[in-house]
Symmetry: D2
Subunit: 222 residues, 4 copies
């Protein structure tokens, strides 16, 4: 599970926070199928709103790109979010009796708002790297969770969720995003990036976004 | 207490939320002096961080202004925040034994982060009006709270806080900001602004910012 | 040629500017094949840089969207620009002996820079509508030019350029963008939008972008 | 004339461009008084529009600051621009028979628009450093020009302009901005900043802004 060197550095710098997010009881109970359905549906409803703002942030990343390769990867992520991940969400919710209309009317919870607006402000106020640092925990953390659960003896209850993030498409997107981040950091900050104040700022953004991911799991009592 | 017609409209559209913010127990106990000092100091520490992001948002408002009058008022607010309000905070905290250095090292709580990043994203993603709608609850709500408490039989415990916001300087800033908002809405959306979808979006932003203000009081258990 | 009501209104408000752009000698000589090849190649080189910044602006439009329908259309335009229009440019330039590397090294001319940065600032400083008003002249003007030349007795010299913009794909993209703009204006500003100050600001942005398009043709002496 | 180490590095990297801007005939003829009055007035009219957008950019710099010291300096520059430099412009123009109303109605020339929108996009798309690199040529170049002309046997014709930029207030603002830039670069990119790709990007922005300054002098035929 090494999508990127920079990502590995960030994760290792904030091990406690990273574990509290990626090994959260909410995650573990998706794996063993003991998560109450109502909690899962509440999460999906909030995640629908989250994904819209997250797609906005990846759209912003296109605007903040320095070259056409960066633009291509970011555009690909927008496409994956809007045309695949959100679509899956809607279908899944529909199949569980939540209509698209009801989904659209869901009230955004404060933990959700805190996370997405933090990412968007990091992006608007900073440069491409600041945005990537704030986006990384979600994209790559879900990749890591998916891969781990997918390789475990997971319950069939939330199989579809698990196989989406464990699946080849999502995993190869993570590899692409990891490469994007590594290249972006290397071309801008050079090989000794870990010594720079700019990198410490990026790590701080990564850490906060990680904690906001943890908070996201805690929106619903389980 | 009528700083602005547009503000009055927003406030009346969201009475419950507005009351839950401006008549919050935290506020009432500042007035009667029963708020625990530790709660007040925790609030001040967080508010220091808040004011920095809030100043950033008013700086952004300069960038989003359409004319020199708007720019002047926004620059005046930045000045009032950076050179007066934040300075008072630092002095007050220092006098309570919290050093400037300690203040700088305060960890930002999620409720704080949620509010400021919501305002900044509203501003970056929208136009001058969107930013004003998200900024109004704080500036004008504090004016309203200050005026009400200042006219009451308030306790001397938090007198300095009360007289700052009840004082002539802060109250006249509120009148200026109210006029800024009225003019900005009228010149852009015309006299029938309440019928427009754009105005409904603005009201929604005002409402969310109001709820995030209420949340801000609730960061500290009292 | 009526991609959108709002677009027609803008165009009619600025007829002289619109004609000076869409009936520019550079355009007419693409049609009759008398444009010197060197002028066309210089235009293509600059247009490659233009398209990158233009794609950035459409990425920004995703970030500034209010709903998922707007996001979908903007993402589609980014895709059309990055994966089709820019690709065609590169292929065409390559076939004319300009390598991709040479294309990447082209110096951006000031007229080019003026136009793209105006669009990007309009977008960053304003809301979704401000961005659309600045983007419209390029997208829909090329649609109009393509349609007109495509229906004329055009020379075969620049046939590929003409048939790209006259073609079904590009024309249907114009219809989609036109619908996007109409819906965006109606839901935000209502049916009487032409009377609002906000709409006058949008028209002004449309006008300036139109003049900057005209300037773009004049980068190369013909 | 060494406001800042980073500035000196940028200037030395782009000597030809820097000289073409700071030793432009327009500048020299301000010094010896041979610049036609009509050219000077046209410049002042355009500069009024320029200063508004430039103030917007410094407002944005407040929003992009990382700490309260940066915010203070940027706020001070906004104040100097809005309350001093623009005011001087208006007074001077008024004394020359150009009313404030006429000033407000001046059409923005493309060279003017190119420069300000380039700066604003650099700021919106990048981080604090990108914005500083795009802002530096104007602030510090005028400081350098003012100091040089002020120390020369200048003609009395444009004395007021010369003494404004040669004066203590403006010169000490330049020193503050220079210090701001040095500190901002050092804390983010460290002492070996010249070796980083990020710094090469900043230098490129400095260079383009310098050329756009040169272009600004050439708006009016002399």
């Amino acid at each position: 599970m090494n999508y990127s060197d920079v990502f590995s550095t960030w994760r290792d710098l904030h091990k406690t926070e990273w574990t509290s997010y990626t090994r959260h009881p909410f995650v573990e109970r998706i794996g063993d199928g003991t998560l109450p359905k109502s909690a899962f549906l509440n999460y999906l409803r909030q995640d629908y709103i989250f994904l819209k703002h997250f797609s906005r942030a990846w759209g912003l990343a296109i605007a903040k790109s320095s070259n056409i390769t960066e633009m291509h990867t970011c555009s690909k992520v927008v496409h994956a979010l809007l045309d695949e991940e959100i679509k899956l969400h809607i279908e899944f919710c529909n199949s569980e009796g939540i209509s698209t209309d009801e989904l659209e009317k869901t009230n955004e919870m404060h933990q959700n708002l805190a996370y997405t607006r933090f990412v968007l402000d990091a992006g608007f106020s900073g440069d491409f790297l600041d945005l990537m640092a704030a986006l990384a925990p979600c994209v790559l953390g879900y990749g890591e969770i998916g891969k781990r659960l997918g390789a475990s003896q997971y319950s069939s209850v939330y199989e579809k969720w698990i196989t989406t993030y464990a699946g080849k498409d999502y995993q190869s997107l993570c590899v692409e995003v990891g490469t994007l981040i590594d290249n972006a950091v290397l071309t801008r900050l050079g090989g000794n990036y870990t010594s720079l104040g700019k990198f410490r700022d990026l790590s701080q953004k990564f850490k906060i976004a990680t904690l906001l991911e943890k908070n996201f799991w805690e929106m619903t009592n389980i």
